[in-house]
């Protein structure tokens, strides 16, 4: 029994497709989680990230359907994500409507709208062409997964460091973090708290929209309303798991994507395993990590607390 288990794990870990699938999911999560991380650092818990991904994916395929160009698809994806971000940001941080109502509603709305439009339009797309980075792609097992990907994948290598730089090394990032940690003080020192929060949500819409479109062109190039299937929530879990640091968040993305592709490969190789446990794993691990490290790693102090001047 135990031996069986180890052979199964060995088989999975030595199959290249595990790593390729893992990189695919990790990239999707990383796109979404990067933006979500920025948003959470400004003190807003943006649960419409799921809707942003889905909207980005559908807008992406729509863009391709119209123009036959992947680039246009990606641009459409960004627009799709940012449309959702606009509603979320303007309603919850300009009109001060409850951010969870707005977020939940947007998820439902996008799910319905995208399903509706998909049946009415039935857009088609093609997979993006892969670009292999010479030499590096020949690394056994992980070479193909990290350096032989459809080209939109590589945008991530730029996006993540840029996000880090924006948040930690610019004035904008400092103000954004202040809005997330102590909005009252930030407000007194002349920072428009809600404006920074809106901008951070727009940023999340940008990265998530791009991520949704990427996923579509990298994987299946066909749309149905379950393509994202809860990955947005896993991205939120990754941010929490990472203790609100970018590198921790990325580690969470890799870990959770790994669990997912591990499970897919197990099934692909014909092993039986408790799939429910593996699917619940990201959430269980995140809850466990929060419970253990809660006293040491703390969320941005004003996370999910709306800021209205004069109210605490």
């Amino acid at each position: 029994m135990l031996i069986d288990f180890f052979t199964a794990v060995g088989d999975v870990l030595s199959s290249e497709s595990t790593y390729i699938n893992g990189a695919l999911f990790a990239a999707l999560l990383a796109y979404a989680a990067t933006g979500e991380w920025v948003a959470e650092r400004s003190g807003t818990l943006n649960i419409s990230v799921e809707g942003m991904l889905l909207s980005g994916a559908f807008a992406g395929i729509l863009g391709y359907h119209i123009s036959d160009l992947i680039v246009v698809g990606l641009v459409f994806g960004v627009i799709g994500g940012m449309l959702i971000a606009a509603v979320q940001a303007e309603m919850s941080h300009r009109l001060s409507a409850d951010q969870f109502v707005v977020g939940l509603t947007l998820n439902i709305l996008v799910f319905g709208l995208v399903g509706f439009l998909d049946r009415e339009i039935e857009p088609q797309a093609l997979r993006a062409s892969t670009v292999e980075i010479p030499v590096l792609v020949d690394i056994p097992l992980i070479g193909q997964a990290l350096f032989g990907e459809p080209w939109p994948f590589y945008l991530l290598y730029v996006l993540v460091p840029v996000s880090w730089w924006l948040v930690y090394r610019t004035r904008w990032g400092l103000e954004l973090r202040a809005a997330g940690e102590n909005p009252q003080s930030a407000d007194v020192s002349g920072i428009d708290v809600n404006r920074r929060r809106r901008q951070s949500i727009y940023y999340a819409g940008f990265t998530s929209g791009l991520g949704g479109a990427y996923f579509l062109f990298a994987r299946i190039a066909a749309f149905d309303d379950s393509v994202i299937g809860g990955q947005g929530f896993i991205a939120i879990a990754a941010v929490i798991f990472g203790g609100w640091t970018l590198w921790g968040t990325m580690a969470g993305c890799v870990l959770f994507a790994g669990a997912l592709s591990f499970q897919l490969s197990l099934q692909g190789l014909g092993y039986e395993l408790n799939t429910e446990l593996l699917q619940a794993l990201p959430y269980l691990v995140t809850i466990g990590a929060m419970a253990i490290f809660a006293k040491r790693v703390r969320p941005p102090a004003a996370l999910a607390r709306p800021f209205i001047r004069g109210l605490k």
Binding site: S96, L104, E276, P299
Partner: protein, 363 residues
């Protein structure tokens, strides 16, 4: 500003934003080559007018209202519980497990079933309570994450006969469903004017009144609201945030679990036909949360909101016959919620601006 002018402002704002939402939905339908008016007719027919339909709407409204009431209680204590979908599902699963384990005569079993449902939901929510008050994990995050754990846990339970799965003779091949509840163990669904709905509708209504009363008129309710408004003042006045907060979370979960059990024992064809099926919770938890938030965390307005949402859901069944994809009802629902959020926010901002203007005048 006079009272009348204020009321007019409210009504005008609501009318305007709902009109904009419906107009947007109609534009979406028309732009994709459908007709809008038949969709509206189908929605109204399917939710109220056609024979036997308003009973179905009430049957859906009951669990929505129950979930919303629990949310009202926990949010009054200043806690953000967004995990009702999971609490509802766990409640239903626990109810199913113990109902078949214990058996017993009809009415008694129904009561037990509902009780275990509430207990299951409360236990699931209490995990978040424990994490919140013992480890300091924000309940927003843990309740949300536990939804997905609950989905998988119940999915796992439905794979094993010693947990929830029915034996092979009483289910279709490879169908992962639970045993069907025996006829005399179900919640009665009396027929009124050709409409049948479970008597949990009355229970939910009574509970709405009870929750409104308890929150507004009892010491316990007062302390809970105090905790929500100003935790520090509450602490000084001797209201333990741990005791009251954890209780409020547990009660919120209990309501969701009760809703789940009631859906199982009285939901009929709307909810799995007296079986626990994969995806049993079917977004009732999420929608119930929306109902509560839309009613701005008050028990009685939640009754109205629950009925409207149930109507949209029930009416969706009739939309397909108009040739327009029935998913449009999700869109209508989403747009309506967003529209209903606008007026309170606008009034709030305006009031502040007026107050500020008045204050500067006085100086």
């Amino acid at each position: 500003m006079t009272r009348g002018a204020r009321l007019t402002e409210w009504v005008a704002l609501y009318a305007l934003s709902v009109a904009v939402a419906l107009a947007l939905a109609s534009v979406i339908v028309e732009a994709t080559g459908g007709d809008w008016w038949p969709v509206v007719e189908a929605l109204v027919d399917g939710s109220i007018l056609a024979p036997g339909r308003w009973g179905g709407t009430l049957g859906i409204a009951a669990p929505l209202l129950l979930v919303a009431l629990g949310t009202v209680i926990s949010s009054k204590a200043g806690l953000i519980n967004i995990g009702q979908e999971g609490q509802l599902l766990v409640g239903a699963a626990v109810a199913v497990y113990f109902s078949f384990l214990i058996g017993g005569p009809g009415p008694l079993n129904v009561v037990l079933l509902l009780l275990f449902g509430a207990l299951g939901g409360a236990a699931w929510a209490s995990i978040s309570g424990l994490l919140r008050f013992w480890r300091g994990v924000p309940e927003v995050l843990s309740t949300l994450l536990l939804v997905f754990v609950a989905l998988q846990a119940v999915g796992y339970g439905l794979k094993w006969q010693w947990l929830l799965l029915a034996d092979e003779a009483s289910r279709g091949n490879r169908n992962l469903v639970s045993e069907q509840l025996a006829k005399d163990n179900r919640i009665p669904r009396p027929d009124i004017f050709g409409n049948e709905f479970p008597i949990t509708v009355y229970v939910a209504l009574a509970l709405a009144l009870a929750v409104a009363y308890v929150l507004a008129r009892t010491v316990w309710g007062f302390r809970l609201r105090m905790l929500g408004h100003n935790p520090r003042a509450a602490q000084r006045a001797g209201v333990s945030s741990t005791v009251y907060g954890a209780t409020a979370l547990a009660i919120g979960g209990a309501f969701a679990g009760l809703a789940g059990a009631a859906m199982f024992a009285g939901g009929g064809f709307s909810f799995g036909n007296f079986r626990l099926v994969p995806g049993f919770s079917d977004n009732i938890g999420w929608t119930g949360l929306l109902v509560a938030l839309l009613a701005r965390e008050r028990a009685l307005p939640a009754v109205v909101a629950a009925f409207v949402f149930a109507g949209l859901r029930n009416g969706a069944g009739f939309v397909n016959s108009t040739g327009v994809e029935s998913r449009i009802t999700d869109v209508v629902q989403g747009l309506l919620v967003l529209a209903l959020l606008v007026p309170p926010a606008v009034v709030f901002l305006r009031d502040r601006r007026r107050a500020r203007a008045a204050a500067t005048e006085r100086v």
